[in-house]
Amino acid sequence: MRSTILLLSLALAVPVIPALAHGEDAARERKALVRQGAREWGAYCGACHNARPAAERTPQEWDTLMLHMRVRANLPEADARALLEFLKTR
């Protein structure tokens, strides 16, 4: 009986483990993007003007402003995404 309960518990837990791992991967990826954005913020934004503090705008406003800046400065997509994640951390 005890072994049956154990097996059942394992069977139920198996689908949950990849989902948890996926969530952890996504969180790790986001943290890496924020760190990359922090490194690039001064160099990329400061190439033309003083880098504006993230707290100046809401995350939703940064969505629009970064789209504008990505086009204006021809930013590579990976760098634009990292800058956006950093700016949205405020």
Binding site: Q36, R39, E40, A43, Y44, G46, A47, C48, H49, N50, A51, R52, P53, R57, T58, P59, Q60, E61, D63, T64, L65, L67, H68, R70, V71, R72, A73, N74, L75, P76, E77, A78, D79
Partner: protein, 441 residues
């Protein structure tokens, strides 16, 4: 927020209506009761009034219930996070008109831009005036891949307020490396026009001589109308090493007059069959982790037929450089233009500027840490001396040394002082002084 407040006001109005109706009924009842006390009709009137009160109460209660439900719906919609994973599913199920809103979330419309107010003195022009300019930039993110942006510039002129549409364009991100731009856009030539001309970005109150606008005597138009394909990509896994490109077709160059030395003007509605063609490429060769600074090297060209009904061409090319390391900023651009004149000498011009700036943010004196020092040397040359019908020489091959001090109140608000020393070929040296407060918002 305004919808919620409006709905709450409507609930308040409904309650107010009910109270007012009840008060009116009580007053009428009191008057009637006084006037007709003891009459046989009293009981009938009171019954009618009671019925009226009950009807009004039921109506108002239903209205209040309906409005409170709508408030709850609005509040629930507002607390829904933008990154809600259910949003795409909701969007696909929503009517087409609401689909974009659900995908894009709030604040798709953003107001940004810049403004400046100042004072200008120029001995050569005998100018001594206060000035003001504002250029709001309106951004509307239709979706994560489509943006509409427009910048009208309003500037005080001698006859009133000059209004100029700097750009009005739709950007469509085709993929990670290509964006289609349609509409009126800033000319993708060099660095100054596209990136540096807003007053809060330009470290001096004046523009470099080759990039003056229109009749001021610049070598290129500030904007054109057409289609662009542009983008950028990394050249390696190392952050910072990348390139950018822009190719475009446009209405092309247009001159104010058909003679030598004439100024370029906007070609908003194409006056000839010829189109303008241009391209720009820039390279960022330094990786960020080497801490060697940020370097950009660019090349640009802009060409097109300038005459009406013939094959006379205007051609131009330029190179630009920008380098930042620590508090130091260096920029330089050089460009050449050639305007064909059949049967006569071509109108050949060139222009250049070199600008260096240094922020004093690390000096031990606290009061100086917001100060930035700037110096710029710029010049124009014209191969053939142009003479207007009145005999005035247009080409003076000017040189200008501009030095300035900026005080940064915030990263986007600067108070600037500038002194200009102008040398002209056939006239005495001239001097200028400018003070400007520039705000980026």
């Amino acid at each position: 927020m305004s919808i919620r407040v409006c709905a709450r006001e409507r609930v308040g109005d409904a309650r107010g209506s009910l109270v007012r109706a009840l008060v009116r009924v009580v007053w009428v009842a009191a008057i009637m009761g006084t006037a007709q006390s003891g009459s046989a009709a009293e009981s009938d009137d009171l019954r009618v009034l009671h019925e009226e009160i009950a009807r009004l109460r039921d109506e108002s209660a239903a209205r209040i219930h309906d409005l409170e439900q709508r408030i709850a719906q609005i509040e629930n919609a507002r607390v829904q996070p933008q990154s809600d994973p259910a949003a795409p599913a909701q969007a696909s199920a929503a009517p087409p008109g609401e689909r974009i809103g659900l995908l894009a979330g709030d604040n798709r419309f953003v107001l940004t831009g810049w403004g400046a107010a100042g004072y200008s003195f120029e001995s050569a022009e005998n100018e001594n005036t206060f000035e003001a300019t504002v250029a709001p930039i309106l951004l509307f993110r239709v979706s994560d891949r489509v943006l509409f942006e427009v910048e009208p510039e309003l500037e005080l002129g001698s006859d009133g307020t000059d209004v100029n549409l700097e750009y009005a364009q739709v950007d469509v991100l085709l993929n990670d490396h290509a964006t289609l731009v349609a509409g009126k856009f800033l000319l993708p030539f060099g660095d100054f026009v596209q990136q540096l001309h807003p007053a809060w970005i330009n470290k001096l109150a004046s523009k470099p001589l080759p990039f003056l606008e229109g009749e001021e005597g610049g070598l290129l138009p500030f904007s054109d109308v057409g289609l662009q394909l542009r983008g950028g990509a990394r050249l390696s896994d190392r952050e910072g090493v990348s390139f950018e490109y822009t190719v475009y077709v446009s209405n092309g160059p247009r001159f104010e007059e058909p003679d030598l030395g004439s100024a370029l003007v906007s070609n908003n509605v194409d006056f000839n069959q010829g189109k303008g063609f241009g391209a720009r490429f820039a390279l960022y060769p330094l990786p960020l982790d080497r801490e060697l600074g940020r370097l950009k090297l660019g090349v640009s060209t802009y060409d097109g037929r300038w005459g009406a009904g013939d094959e006379r061409w205007f051609t131009s090319w330029g190179v630009d450089l920008a380098y930042q390391i620590g508090n130091f900023d260096l920029r330089s651009e050089y460009l050449e233009t050639r305007r064909e004149f059949p049967g006569g000498p071509d109108d050949e011009r060139n222009g250049w500027y070199v600008q260096a700036a240094y922020k004093l943010s690390t000096v031990p004196i606290e009061a100086l840490r917001r100060v930035e020092l700037v110096a710029r040397y710029s010049g124009l040359e014209q191969a053939e001396v142009a003479v207007t019908p009145s005999g005035e020489e247009r080409a003076q091959d000017p040189r200008q040394l501009a030095v300035g001090v900026d005080y940064w109140l915030t990263p986007s608000v600067a108070a600037k002082l500038e002194y200009d020393w102008d040398k002209l070929r056939a006239e005495p040296d001239a001097h200028g002084f400018r003070a400007q407060m520039a705000v980026g918002f």
